[in-house]
């Protein structure tokens, strides 16, 4: 790891204006258009908890989306959105909507015990297997106060899973930034850091072999996961040392209180969105997820729900209180889209044109209903060139959310995928009818 201190590194980084051109990506060859659409280059999964209160459904007016009060903050992007209405979460038991909703949302996994973790990988990880290529990090999981207060540490606070197990998000944007960009600067420093790392790893690997030999099967598989993590770390550090990125990241001092205090939620959301966009801009990864809070979150956000926690409001607040929260999350979604749109290439195309944003929630509304779960697909190609038919509302009835995820996987070329996780019935299988501009 880098011997540089966080302070030293961050102070070297100038904040770039949002409109500045982003650095060339590592592997510039864009996939050719095939089957009549341009596949997205990146995937960004966005989550907000507890769905939207009833009445959020947008309308189609004269062939255009009419967003309504809940989604109004997304007005500037409405031509780039496919808003679905009527998708059903993989929740079998309403009272377990928090845990079942989170574990099944991106995986299609059905859990047998309320506190179980998903036993299947999430779709973003399957996409990463396909597209990660030589990017330093196969995927990046970011969170905003996901591990604070209610739900922390539980399966209601995790949505992404590799084949080996859960991938909890990182809540500290400074630490996330350092993980990606906190590397030694000069060639000689790099060589030193590498030699040092190799020495440490030699000893760690010898220890790993020793303890693994003492262990039973269960422990051995855990040690194997640890070994895989070490290999990934080595690969990442080598690959990162080749990345040149003049990133925009505003350093904020973030102590434990700030990382945990409700009042800092908006700042942390902003910073994590910056890290997410920077990671894509600089080609550090091609798959990012950004998890806003968790399914049981009790965050109290200034000016939004100052008195009572998120989950309590979404359960039993007034309509106005719920709308304030919904609009706040819609605004955060708009902010992510704005940042993607602002990162532009010389030819005028933007990161939003290359990044498919799949944005959803784990349940319909705070009262644990599983239908209609809000799911929105944004960007991914220049307008009119992508897989998804955007700028409109897609109404469906009793189709599982997994079908939209399968559609997204098809957009990335994973056309062999017909089902996710345990959801294999007719309502859950295959791409979502009507979502694509090109597929039947």
């Amino acid at each position: 790891m880098s011997p540089l201190s966080r302070r030293a590194l961050l102070s070297h980084l100038a904040r770039l204006s949002a409109a500045s051109a982003f650095a060339p990506l590592l592997d510039v060859a864009a996939a050719p258009a095939e089957r009549g659409f341009t596949p997205p280059r990146n995937l960004l999964v966005l989550f907000h908890p507890n769905g939207f209160e009833q009445g959020w459904k947008p309308a189609m007016t004269d062939g255009a989306l009419s967003l309504g009060p809940t989604l109004a903050p997304l007005e500037a992007f409405k031509a780039r959105l496919l808003v679905t209405y009527g998708l059903k979460a993989g929740i079998r038991h309403e009272v377990q909507a928090h845990t079942e909703g989170m574990t099944s949302m991106l995986t299609g996994a059905l859990i047998q015990k309320a506190d179980a973790y998903a036993a299947h990988p999430s779709f973003d990880q399957l996409v990463a297997e396909k597209i990660a290529g030589a990017s330093p990090l196969p995927s990046l999981e970011l969170g905003v106060q996901t591990q604070v207060g209610f739900g922390a540490g539980s399966n209601a606070a995790v949505m992404t899973y590799s084949r080996a197990g859960k991938l909890p998000p990182q809540d500290d944007p400074n630490a996330a930034f350092m993980r990606l960009f906190g590397k030694a600067a000069t060639p000689s420093e790099l060589m030193q850091a590498r030699a040092r790392r190799q020495s440490v790893l030699d000893l760690v690997r010898a220890d790993l072999a020793k303890v693994r030999a003492l262990a039973g099967a269960e422990a051995a598989s855990k040690f194997d996961a640890h070994a895989a993590g070490l290999r990934a770390l080595e690969t990442r550090l080598d690959a990162l040392s080749r990345v040149r990125c003049d990133g925009a990241y505003q350093r904020h001092a973030l102590n434990d209180w700030q990382l945990g205090a409700s009042e800092r939620f908006p700042l942390l959301a902003e910073l994590q969105a910056e890290v997410a966009v920077l990671a894509l801009t600089c080609g550090v990864t091609r798959v990012v997820s950004l998890q806003l809070a968790n399914s049981l979150s009790d965050r109290r956000i200034p000016g939004v729900n100052p008195n009572v926690g998120l989950h309590t409001v979404m359960h039993s607040g007034t309509r106005a209180e719920k709308l304030a929260i919904n609009r706040y999350f819609a605004g955060l979604g708009a902010s992510v889209l704005s940042k993607l749109a602002a990162a532009q290439r010389d030819d005028g195309s933007s990161l939003l044109d290359e990044t498919l944003v799949v944005w959803g929630s784990e349940m319909a509304i705070g009262n644990h209903l599983n239908d209609p779960v809000p799911f929105i697909v944004a960007g991914g190609a220049r307008p009119g060139e992508g897989y998804f038919h955007q700028g409109r509302l897609l109404e469906v009835e009793h189709q599982r959310t997994t079908r939209l995820l399968i559609s997204a996987m098809h957009a990335f070329g994973l056309t062999g995928t017909t089902a996710l996780g345990d959801l294999k019935d007719d309502l859950s299988r295959g791409p979502l009818p009507g979502a694509s501009r090109v597929a039947p």
């Binding site: 377990q96 440490v200 009572v308």
Partner: protein, 571 residues
């Protein structure tokens, strides 16, 4: 003071290995676990009646080995502090790792394999800590303190690393490991790195290694098919159980001398650890997690109704519970009954405000303050628990009742049947119904009554306390007098009519059922995992002993440490 030290150390010198775990199949206690099923079937509760439990066959199948434990955030943090006690570390990266998993109510990382992010964070933490403990020349000197510097940097540096490694890895190093560490020192010291560079590289490697990050538990096979843990593995188990950090040198020395191979030796060390101040936060942690107070630090209340519920108040409520537990367990009679019924507090001022008690004349924070015995009795009448098991603005009889049923009576309940309205009980918009009447909807609906006839009466008794645990006589929302007269029906020795919370809490304090459940919870806590069928024989022995000792908690903990379950594991 130190009453528990006078209690006789009664250690059954049980023969190691070869004990009869299959006997479990005849044990009625297994029923406690086997009834974890849906609420819609009230008959599942029948076998719970104590004393008359029909034997239920344990599920057949292979025995489940104990899962590998990875250090929790606190264990990582505290172990690091213990490794570098003179460096003035207070804040370490371990505290900010992703949240820990739980088994039952207790924090323990046994379920999922480590995520790549966590491996990165371990590496970053090790590098950060290695840099911090070698930052200044004085820091480096602290690491080699006591070494004769005339013997040179390499001698002192490698000696320090070998000593640190034994502490960090909680076992002696073999020759190859010592040589590898020496070679690492030499690499770090080369090129101008010197003593500081050598130590830093070695420390980074030690803290990155699985031997530090996991509880590796080697053992010798016994005739009973289990592994008898080595003395060093036992030292780790013992130390993480009672201190939540790695063993100190004295414990490792005892292991090296073979003293942990006997029950007497283990018991002696267990008492030593319990007497040490490092046991206090750990005994407190058991109760915080058992009582569901893990989220107390960030517990949110409706600030319109409870503007005083600030961070200062939360901290004071938590401190009150911790001080109370420490006082009862380590400085008083050590009994569970006292924990659950003593009418005093060690509250600091913000907490006294919740009680509506003025600080007495010549008030000294930390000294006991007597409370109205008609209103307060032990942990379940303290604001920390009452506030944690409530909504932000209102009480939640269901949460409080469910908590007592599952965590204190160890009656596992399933989920409500599909399709029922699970909206939390709020305030009646028409103002016609009291909260009690709203809650009683559960017990009139047959779909809900199966479980709620257990849960709700218990919860309703606690209606005397509002959403932050203050005593009240009427509900702020419905302005109606509060009626706490209920009849408890749990199939346990708790059953019967109860008029007020203090009566209920005193019943809980004397209940055999609660004692038996406490043994089960301590067992999970000590071993860092959920119990399995194989554990029921041991649990029955410990339960009998805990009853016989009249619920003496330190005695139970030492009995647990010397039990076969603690000293062996399945391969």
């Amino acid at each position: 003071m130190w009453a528990f030290l006078r209690s006789t150390v009664r250690v059954a010198a049980s023969p190691r290995g070869g004990h009869a775990f299959p006997m479990l199949r005849m044990m009625g206690l297994w029923a406690l676990v086997a009834t974890a099923s849906g609420c819609e079937a009230p008959e599942v509760l029948a076998p719970l009646r104590l004393g008359a439990q029909p034997a239920i066959a344990a599920p057949s199948g292979a025995a489940v080995p104990a899962p590998l434990r990875r250090l929790t955030r606190q264990q990582h943090h505290r172990s690091v502090l213990a490794l570098f006690p003179t460096h003035g570390l207070t804040d370490t990266p371990g505290l900010r790792f992703p949240a820990d998993e739980t088994a039952g109510p207790f924090l323990t990382n046994v379920r999922q394999p480590v995520a790549p992010l966590q491996v990165d964070l371990y590496a970053a933490a090790a590098a950060d800590l290695a840099a911090r403990v070698t930052a200044a020349p004085a820091d480096v000197e602290r690491l080699v303190a006591g070494c004769n510097r005339f013997r040179g940097d390499e001698f002192c540096g490698t000696t320090a690393l070998h000593r640190l490694a034994r502490r960090a890895w909680r076992r002696p190093l073999d020759e190859a490991e010592q040589a590898a560490l020496t070679s690492l020192y030499q690499q770090g010291a080369a090129g101008g790195g010197g003593l500081r560079g050598g130590l830093a590289l070695g420390i980074e490697a030690l803290l990155s290694s699985p031997s530090f990050l996991y509880l590796v538990e080697p053992g010798e096979p016994t005739s009973g098919g289990r592994l008898e843990l080595t003395g060093f593995a036992l030292a780790s188990r013992l130390s993480f159980f009672l201190w939540n950090e790695g063993p100190d040198d004295a414990l490792l020395d005892a292991a090296e001398r073979g003293e942990l191979d006997t029950a007497e030796g283990l018991a002696a060390q267990a008492w030593r650890l319990l007497k040490d101040e490092r046991a206090a936060p750990q005994l407190g942690r058991f109760h915080l997690e058992w009582l569901g107070l893990g989220g107390l630090d960030t517990l949110e209340k409706d600030t319109r109704r409870y503007p005083f519920f600030t961070q200062e108040t939360r901290d004071a409520l938590k401190a009150e519970t911790l001080d109370f537990v420490d006082t009862v367990l380590r400085r008083s009679d050590g009994r569970l009954e006292t924990l659950l019924s003593a009418p005093f507090t060690l509250a600091r001022e913000p907490a006294l405000r919740v009680y509506g008690v003025d600080p007495p004349m010549r008030f000294t924070p930390g000294l006991p303050v007597g409370l109205d015995p008609a209103q307060r009795a032990g942990l379940l009448t303290q604001p920390a628990w009452l506030a944690a098991q409530a909504n932000p603005a209102t009480t939640s009889p269901v949460h409080r009742g469910l908590f007592v049923v599952t965590n204190l009576l160890c009656i596992p309940l399933g989920s409500p049947p599909p399709g029922v309205d699970v909206t939390p009980i709020g305030v009646d918009p028409t103002g016609q119904k009291t909260r009690r009447q709203l809650v009683e909807r559960h017990t009139s609906d047959p779909a809900c009554a199966g479980c709620h006839r257990l849960i709700d009466p218990i919860g309703l008794v606690f209606e005397r306390y509002d959403a932050v645990g203050a005593w009240r006589t009427s509900d702020l929302d419905d302005r109606q007098p509060i009626d706490t007269r209920v009849t408890i029906t749990t199939g346990s020795d708790l059953d019967g009519p109860v008029d007020d919370p203090v009566t209920l809490v005193r019943k809980l304090a004397r209940s055999q059922r609660v004692k038996d459940c406490a043994v089960r919870q301590w067992y999970r806590f000590a071993l860092g995992r959920q119990e399995t069928a194989e554990d029921e024989v041991e649990l029955a022995t410990l339960t009998a002993r805990f009853r016989a000792s009249d619920g003496h908690v330190p005695d139970l903990l030492v009995a647990l440490v010397t039990s076969d379950a603690f000293r062996t594991r399945l391969p």
